[in-house]
Symmetry: C2
């Protein structure tokens, strides 16, 4: 039996490693893993396990897990799938806390039961399983390459977690070729137990890791992932590639890994909420990682473009707008800094155009000036092949500039454009660790990520807000509906839930007599609406049971009498319980505030403008619950139609505070009431600033079985 569950650091810094299924045959995975461990320079002891014993690659094998005679924290299991379960049990009994189940043939091919059985056995023995269906992992701290992937892994500061094994193996090669060093790469495969969130816990605190890259196809426990990402991004940048973003791609991902790919819109919004940099392509992701791993964080937001080709400068300027890089704009300062080394016809406006006449010295001078100037915080160096510049001579200067910027605490990115010689120069520059591209857009995109992470890091973390609501009352309403065999609430029940949650509704009271109606109307404030209350009258308007827009006491008296007379005439048998006196809902901006339990992320909140904005323009935004007020305000700003809340055409701004509060309260219902699965307040009519909002209607659904989401205490 193992001790108490071991900290995740034992996976990355194991005292000993067992390879179950180690083989003397070089074409076997179990041989390759032992070979990689040995070649990688692992300093702990490796224990090949093979029933036949002997030596494997010069290391004596033990005949069983039980026969291992020393501390072992990781076992790589590479044996046929039907024997994995027994090996897991044996490892558990031996007290090996982390198991890498290399073997495939489990849930990814539909064999879900066996995978569950393995995880259950692992849990029972207090051990953790990475995989199954993985290539293994690498840890720079332990110099441990426990994988059947490439032998050569370039050590460095980028940690990669990949759900796709094949892509991960290829990434090892690609990163080495691109001179991107890894602090770790972990193949998580089917994620039966250990997932990205578990690994983030280690990488977050791991000093040797400066940036974390996740390749994700499907999210299993989104709430855990969100917590893990939030904690990690507070410390260091996290880049995520999420494939299966298209509908068709999601189907392909599901068939490939057996995990459900969630809605891409929600994923995208939640990643932004977690301050995660989402990359579309693997190439973009690795470029970001390389820059984060090597470049200093910018100390301000002023960037400068240095170029020898105006056209490239224009393209880079376009890219700066696209990727949110702010170009420094103080023309006088720029002239002061750069004029001394400008060639004829050059421009000291940003982009700094050294012109096609630029020499090596001009570049050197411009880079030095930019580095020395405290008001400049980052530089984009563009190089276009010309007759004036000898790439072979310029490249060392660029390498030198790159090193100087790194020492000087400023990021510098390059784009070099031209023929074969430029490609050689680029390769040399990249080899020296620089972030150099053959396309200015790529350079600016990487730099933009640095600035975005900087902006996020500058925002203080904010506490989550879950307003106090009368959860007991809501639960009682839900239980009653469920007892009726319903999974939805009736209008009156939904209204009561809004009241219990403190969400403002149009004021209303039921009057049985005229004088009470007048009193209520005065209390509520004119104009009011009267509506007959009768369980026997379904269509109130048809029965003449509604009177709109009543402006004073006399009109209320007249309206009340008219309603009673109408109903008596048109529905003579109906029992009248009274007349509802309602606040008249004035015109305002119609919004939708919702919350639901997402299959991937658990409770999420939704906000958008009502009507066609949501239906036609799909102008909505999502956040994983719970969150704070700033995040809720961010939801308002996150929709394209936000200007309507700010007030257009001279209109006064809308009551954003009440809108934010309503989002938080709707969220609180899901957080505190496990019986509720969906709420949609539609419309929430928002008035001018200070005048509040009114939830006119709400649709509320219940979860299928009692108890609500796991872990919510319901």
């Amino acid at each position: 039996m193992s001790d108490a569950p071991a900290g995740i650091s034992r996976l990355f810094e194991p005292r000993g490693v067992a390879v179950v299924g180690a083989s003397p045959h070089p074409d076997k995975i179990g041989n390759r893993i032992v070979a990689n461990i040995l070649a990688g320079g692992y300093r702990g002891r490796v224990w090949p396990v093979n029933p036949k014993g002997g030596t494997i690659l010069g290391v004596p094998a033990v005949t069983s897990i039980d026969a291992i005679d020393g501390p072992v924290d990781v076992a790589a299991i590479a044996i046929p799938s039907d024997r994995v379960h027994d090996a897991v049990v044996a490892c558990g009994k031996k007290g090996i806390p982390y198991l890498l189940v290399i073997t495939s043939g489990f849930s990814e091919v539909g064999n879900v039961a066996e995978e569950r059985r393995i995880v259950a056995a692992a849990r029972e023995h207090g051990v953790r399983v990475v995989g199954p269906n993985i290539f293994g992992f690498y840890s720079v701290t332990a110099s441990l390459n426990a994988s059947f992937g490439p032998k050569d892994i370039r050590p460095g500061r980028v940690a990669i977690v990949t759900q796709s094994g094949a892509l991960g193996v290829a990434m090892i090669g690609k990163t080495a070729a691109e001179k991107i060093g890894l602090s770790a790469i972990v193949s998580v495969g089917n994620k039966a137990d250990v997932d990205e969130a578990d690994l983030l816990e280690y990488f977050r605190d791991h000093e040797g890791t400066r940036v974390i890259l996740l390749y994700v196809e499907g999210v299993k426990d989104g709430e855990k992932l969100v917590r893990g990402l939030r904690a990690a991004t507070a410390r260091k940048p996290v880049v995520v590639i999420k494939s299966g973003r298209s509908k068709r791609g999601a189907v392909a991902a599901a068939s490939h890994t057996g995990s459900l790919a969630g809605s891409d819109e929600i994923f995208d919004d939640v990643m932004r909420q977690c301050r995660v940099l989402r990359a579309e392509t693997v190439k973009e992701a690795l470029a970001l990682c390389k820059l984060f791993a090597s470049a200093p964080a910018p100390s301000g937001e002023n960037a400068v473009i240095v170029t020898n080709a105006g056209g490239m400068g224009v393209l880079a300027t376009d890219a700066c707008e696209k990727y949110g890089v702010r170009l420094y704009d103080d023309h006088e300062e720029l002239r002061r800094v750069f004029a001394p080394m400008m060639p004829a016809f050059g421009s000291t406006k940003n982009p700094i155009d050294l012109t096609g006449q630029a020499s090596d010295k001009d570049y050197q001078g411009a880079f030095r000036a930019a580095l020395a100037e405290p008001k400049i915080h980052a530089v984009i160096g563009l190089y276009c092949e010309t007759a004036m510049l000898d790439v072979a001579r310029t490249t060392p200067l660029l390498v030198e500039a790159d090193a100087a910027f790194r020492d000087g605490g400023k990021p510098l990115v390059f784009s070099m454009y031209g023929g074969e010689r430029v490609e050689q120069g680029l390769a040399a520059l990249r080899g020296a660790g620089a972030s150099a591209f053959d396309e200015p857009y790529d350079a600016v995109q990487a730099l933009g990520a640095l600035f975005r992470h900087r902006a996020w890091a500058a925002e203080p973390p904010e506490p989550e807000v879950v307003p106090e609501i009368d959860a007991a009352r809501i639960s009682a309403i839900a239980e009653k509906a469920r007892a009726d065999g319903r999974r939805f609430l009736l209008a009156a029940e939904a209204a009561a839930v809004l009241d219990a949650a403190g969400i403002p509704r149009p004021k209303a009271r039921i009057a049985r007599r005229i004088d009470a109606a007048v009193g209520f109307a005065t209390e509520i404030g004119f104009p009011v609406v009267l509506k007959v209350v009768s369980r026997d009258i379904l269509h109130k308007s048809d029965a003449g049971g509604v009177a709109l827009d009543l402006d004073n006491a006399q009109e209320v008296v007249d309206g009340f009498e008219a309603i009673l007379a109408n109903c008596r005439a048109r529905a003579p048998k109906a029992r009248i319980d009274g007349v509802e006196v309602c606040e008249m809902v004035a015109k305002g901006v119609e919004t939708i505030v919702g919350a639901r339990r997402d299959a991937s992320f658990g409770p999420v909140a939704m906000f958008g403008l009502g009507g066609v904005y949501v239906e036609v323009m799909k102008d909505v935004t999502f956040r994983a619950l719970p969150f704070g007020r700033r995040e809720a305000r961010g939801m308002l700003k996150g929709i394209r139609s936000y200007p309507l809340l700010l007030g257009v055409r001279g209109e006064a701004p809308r009551d954003r505070d009440t809108t934010v509060e309503t989002i938080l309260r709707v969220g609180a219902i899901l957080e505190r009431c496990p019986e509720i699965s969906d709420i949609e307040v539609n419309p929430l009519v928002v008035y001018e600033q200070g005048k509040g909002a009114r939830a006119v209607d709400a649709r509320i659904l219940l979860v299928e079985a009692p108890g609500g989401r796991a872990g919510s205490g319901g």
Copy 2:
């Protein structure tokens, strides 16, 4: 004196070339040009012109242009800017039809006057000027490299026109390094005379050119460009990179080339109208060109992904949705085609997943099967580095597949992902002419362009429609307003313009007596609105001069009397001219239809949904005028809020025919009436299909000086 203006083919196939400013000094531009011409293998005669005579690079120089003794169709001029004018005149007298003014120092540095003087001299002598401020040009047909750029230009089938000289020079190197062959590259610099449209005329018909790439910073004569692009894209694909798309970038572009960068939204819409493929980056543009230059056009729209890594397949699937590539979906057919060569665990669903176990033979088999199957029209081959595949052995098979697909008339694109060895394989594959990338998104993007061009080519060209309107009457209205010293039309004038253009307005007639008002109301159809007509009453409502929503003759009688009584009481001194009987405008979808004279593109039409859709959501679309009905319908479909015209929430579809007709008629006003500069019909209220639309209000502006736009005949 020259003969009649020579056809543009004389530029690309000149009988002789003069180099004015040819120099024996190797560091001079005039030397480099001669050297490049000689090295390039030009078969015509080259005439170095140098006042000192002698021989330059072994070629005898003439001492003046006049001294040239043989046919010359092109002269490259590389002498100081203050002597260019005289050289142009001398060339003109000699009858040299095309001049490449290499020299800089003209409008790009503010020296506009001298540039104009040169163009005027050229026009006077019937010669055309390319430049100034260029590096020269290359023509594969003449084996002529008349530039000071790189000596080595890879011949091929891509024609490039570049406004940026430095970028163009670097592109020559880049294309050679990427194994992309050029049929021509022309530096157009300041575009003082010859522009993209002139060159498109040649490339369109040039058999050696399969695809045309334009790098554009600013558009000078957009109408000419649109005509040139439309004619060219009917024959072959055109790719455009337009820099200065951001606001800041536009400023940078203007300072760099002196040309005004227009609104990027208009540029983007007009390029799509011209069926031009717009590339954001130079890299993307060249990738598209390489594929168009080498790959056959797909004969259908079914694409198949073949991969050995599920993750890559998912990413490529996402990319297919993004770039409009349709994945073939017939599972049974796919199984029939691919099952025979699938390894264990492989999937014949598209993506065809050969799995990490895939061998060279599996790839070969899958490619052969896809090529042989008529229902498959294009293939995306993804290769991820694995232990199972030896890149060095696989690459020749991929090269072979690429050649077979080319012969077989199907496009094939690759993405190869992995380490150093994969990069070598990629280089070999590219060297053999394949479109191979290290990122599946890039491969799919290029293939998507092929499909998009195919879809465009399949649409028959449609005639332009400029509806008949009463232009004389509109011009008279405009002249009258101008005589009043106004540049805008009054409401009544604007209404008269709409009537003259046949654009439906709410019906209205002025009645002086009650019986006439009742007659008009019956004619117009109930409900109607009555409004007092009096030059003395500004605010009709305040005077009680408006009666809304009158449903029958009696209500018209009552309303008429009430208006007269009210006005007599509240504005006793006002002279009453009568009462206007107006059609009541029912609720409908509010749209905006506009047209204006764009600084870049001349007359453009605009369409969008009214109110906040335009103001807040910027949901509008533009087209260069004139165009046909399908294009106008495309404008409706081109806005995000198009579903509102189709009918949402069970509403009936809106009258799209009338909307299209209104767009065409508003366009016709600008086309036929040179006095009008801007029209905005806002709102055009559109009713249900068959029920028409009503132009409720229109704002019309006049051009500053009489005569209207150049060449419009006004």
